[in-house]
């Protein structure tokens, strides 16, 4: 088998890329894409720990599926928010949405 660490590195890498996208992308939808990446990286992490840990325990798989569901819900809501904001402000650039400031 392939060592666990390869999966973890992959997952970490994906997470970092996702994090970087969240932190640096201007467009709100791109940020959501980054979030998606992070969630998927987490999924990989979870499944690899399941596969290389206790296979009999279904908790890992279940957790992964919940994450999927949550991610999907979250994206839906997120996109709904972005559309709503666009309708109000005519922009999707995250830096322009700074009304909650001092």
């Amino acid at each position: 088998m392939i060592p666990l660490s390869w999966f973890l590195i992959l997952s970490a890498g994906l997470f970092s890329i996702g994090l970087f996208g969240v932190l640096s992308r201007k467009n709100a939808i791109a940020i959501l894409l980054g979030v998606e990446l992070m969630l998927n990286a987490v999924n990989i992490n979870l499944v690899s720990f399941w596969r290389y840990g206790n296979i009999a325990d279904m908790a890992g798989q279940v957790f992964a599926i919940i994450v999927f569901a949550v991610a999907a819900a979250e994206v839906a809501v997120g996109l709904a928010l972005v559309i709503s904001v666009y309708r109000q402000r005519r922009t999707v650039i995250a830096d322009d949405l700074d009304m909650m400031k001092w």
Binding site: L19, V22, L23, S24, I31, A94, D95, L97, D98, M99, M100, K101, W102
Partner: protein, 710 residues
């Protein structure tokens, strides 16, 4: 009623009259004078009854009428109020009762009772006359005194004081009477209180006698502390006197008796207007003439001499005190007589004459002749009251003339008078009798007998006193005749004098009564050795008064004092008449010497030495320098210091620290922190996320290192 009870009752009617008049009858003049006259008449009756009963007692000196009640409790004993009628008090009651009664009757007429109220009269100023119509013809008449009732109230209070003093049996009651009379003197001298000169004269009299009274009070306190009693009877016990005479005091080497005598005598110097405290008496002539007669001739100033006679047993123990007494008396007698010859105001001459005659009495006491002094006290009271009342009658007559002519002539200046013997005969004859009595006209006047006795007593043992008194007697006769000549003889010198009128009967009747006394009272004291008539009538006075100090022998007869007294009296009268027969104005009067006219400048000396420094001390030293400067300055300094501390605390602690640091400082700090932290909230999500990522990394690192160690 027992005599003791009667003696207690004598002073009370006048006191009651005072209260009734002041409280109830002030508006009603008739009722007021009726109450006053009734009261003094009752007192007179009481005094006469007591006097007659006292005459009937043998050895009154050893068994006097005496009675005392306890008044103020002191540690073991009581201070008492008491009465004592021994020969001296009996004599005192006699002359006080008569003179006071006569003066009360005189006051009714003097204050123009029955006349209409004046046109411009205000209470507080002497009345100025009223314009009345009389059959189509208008003229001014004298008007009634607006403060009529008040006058009678005051003289009633005064009568109370004098009677109390005469019958008192201890120094305390005597002092009470003394001070009441001092008060009444002030009230009556300043009777016309709206006149500044009268006000000032009243204050001057009170202040000057106060000086004497302070020393007298010291003397009384000393007596009390040395003997434990103030009662005459107990002080004059032989053992007590002996102790007092032998105990020395640190002052001038006097024995206790001598010092006490001296201190009490200083009270007399003030009250009886002896040098140097004589300055108040001439100014006291600002009061109405009955006041001058009563207070300043017959009774109050006599009280000083009366007191000295009372304490004579104590006084006579120390020869130095007696020397002082004799010197003061003789000096005053001559001093005042020299001033009297240069005075033009009819009352001033009599005032200085009073001072001089009191000096006679004091000198006699200093020489040990207390019977002679007491005798002169009695005779002088009568003829001096007579002279003052006569001068009041003259002044009234002159004012009649002044109102008639409408010119402003001084009614009291003798050089404005003249020829009044034709206009005012009763006044003239009674005044003449009084004047001759004062001069010591031989045989038929009382003054001769008493003055002769004084001269006889001082001759031989006290020649300096004798010579001084003889010279003073000459001057007395001289200025008396000067006064009579200028006032009554010759021709009127002004229109006012030409239109003078005789006074009403209420004024002339007392004059007549007093002149009877001025003639006759001397005959009770004719010395037994007198050539010719001596021995026909026993020397009753000597036996009566002399019994107080045991058997006192009469002075041996000597021709020289008798001759001296005749020469000076008759000579003085003659020279006075000759010198002033033709004098028409002050310019022709050779004796208008400035230093005599200005009373030897004593008032000016006192003003410069005592009054001005006192005023300076009061107004400048104590008020400006000490009170406003030092004390207020200290207080202001204190105030400023406190204010400085307060503002210092405020500016150094309160504002910077408490308001600044704790108050504004914290607020500003918090605000600053907030202001500085606020920009953190950019509203940009991605920044927030970066920050939270960094923090999480830090925390994770920390947790890794912390937890991994374990």
């Amino acid at each position: 009623m027992t005599t003791e009870t009667l003696i207690w009752l004598i002073p009370l009617p006048p006191l009651l009259a005072f209260f009734l008049i002041i409280l109830l009858t002030n508006r009603n003049k008739t009722l007021s004078h009726t109450i006053a006259l009734g009261a003094v008449l009752a007192a007179w009756v009481g005094a006469m009854v007591v006097f007659v009963r006292a005459l009937g007692i043998q050895e009154l000196a050893n068994e006097p009428f005496a009675s005392a009640v306890k008044w103020i409790p002191t540690a073991d004993t009581w201070l008492k109020v008491g009465v004592l009628v021994d020969p001296l008090a009996a004599i005192g009651l006699f002359f006080v009762a008569w003179t006071v009664l006569m003066i009360f009757v005189y006051s009714v007429g003097y204050h123009n009772f029955g006349q209409p109220p004046g046109d411009h009269d205000v209470p507080g100023l002497p009345p100025h006359g009223a314009m009345i119509e009389c059959g189509g013809h208008k003229h001014m008449v004298p008007s009634v005194e607006p403060m009529y009732s008040r006058f009678f109230a005051f003289i009633s209070l005064f009568a109370f004081g004098m009677f109390t003093l005469v019958i008192s049996d201890n120094l305390l009651t005597l002092f009470v009477g003394w001070e009441i009379m001092g008060l009444c003197s002030y009230l009556l001298i300043g009777f016309w209180y709206a006149k500044p000169s009268a006000r000032d004269a009243g204050v001057k009299a009170f202040m000057t006698t106060r000086v004497g009274d302070v020393f007298m009070l010291l003397g009384i306190a000393f007596v009390y502390s040395a003997t434990g009693t103030l009662s005459f009877h107990e002080i004059f016990e032989p053992q007590v006197l002996h102790t007092l005479a032998s105990v020395p005091t640190p002052i001038l080497g006097l024995s206790a008796a001598g010092l006490i005598g001296l201190l009490l005598f200083i009270g007399t110097i003030g009250k009886s207007a002896q040098f140097p405290l004589h300055v108040w008496l001439p100014d006291a002539m600002e009061g109405p003439t009955p006041v001058s007669a009563m207070i300043h001739a017959a009774t109050m100033v006599s009280a000083g001499v009366f007191m000295v006679v009372r304490i004579f047993p104590l006084l006579s123990l120390d020869p130095r005190t007696m020397a002082v007494v004799g010197f003061v008396g003789a000096f005053t007698a001559l001093f005042a007589a020299t001033i009297a010859v240069a005075q033009n105001d009819i009352k001033r001459v009599l005032a200085y004459s009073t001072i001089s005659q009191l000096g006679y009495m004091i000198a006699a006491l200093g020489a040990g002749a207390y019977v002679a002094a007491a005798f002169h006290l009695v005779t002088h009271a009568f003829f001096k009251a007579l002279l003052f009342l006569g001068s009041g009658s003259v002044i009234h007559g002159m004012e009649h003339g002044v109102l008639h002519t409408g010119k402003h002539t001084d009614a009291q200046d003798m050089f404005n008078m003249g020829g009044l013997r034709r206009k005012m005969p009763i006044t003239y004859w009674t005044f003449l009798i009084g004047g001759l009595a004062l001069s010591g006209f031989p045989l038929v006047t009382a003054g001769f007998w008493s003055k002769d006795e004084i001269l006889a007593s001082t001759f031989g043992g006290h020649m300096a006193v004798f010579v001084t008194l003889a010279i003073a007697a000459f001057l007395t006769a001289f200025y008396t005749m000067r006064q009579i000549t200028l006032t009554f003889l010759g021709d009127p010198r002004t229109d006012a004098a030409a239109h003078a009128q005789e006074s009403v009967w209420t004024m002339t009747l007392p004059l007549v009564v007093l002149s009877v006394f001025a003639v006759g009272i001397g005959w009770v004291g004719i010395p037994a050795h007198f050539p010719g008539i001596g021995g026909i009538v026993p020397n009753w006075f000597h036996h009566f008064a002399g019994s107080m100090l045991g058997e006192l022998h009469e002075v041996e007869f000597n021709w020289i004092p008798l001759a001296t007294s005749l020469v000076v009296a008759l000579g003085g009268l003659l020279v006075g008449w000759l010198a002033y027969r033709n004098v028409k104005s002050p310019a022709q009067d050779a004796l208008q010497i400035p230093i005599l006219k200005h009373k030897w400048y004593i008032d000016e000396i006192y003003s410069a030495l005592l009054i001005k420094p006192s005023i300076w001390i009061a107004e400048t030293l104590v008020y400006q320098i000490m009170d406003k400067g030092l004390i207020d300055g200290f207080l202001h300094l204190f105030g400023k210091g406190t204010a400085a501390i307060g503002s210092g605390l405020r500016n150094i602690i309160d504002k910077p620290v408490i308001n600044g640091f704790f108050g504004d400082g914290t607020a500003n700090a918090v605000q600053g922190v907030g202001r500085n932290l606020r920009p953190m909230q950019t509203g940009r999500i991605q920044q927030y996320m970066v920050v939270s990522l960094l923090i999480m990394l830090v925390l994770a690192g920390l947790a890794y290192f912390m937890l991994m160690k374990v």
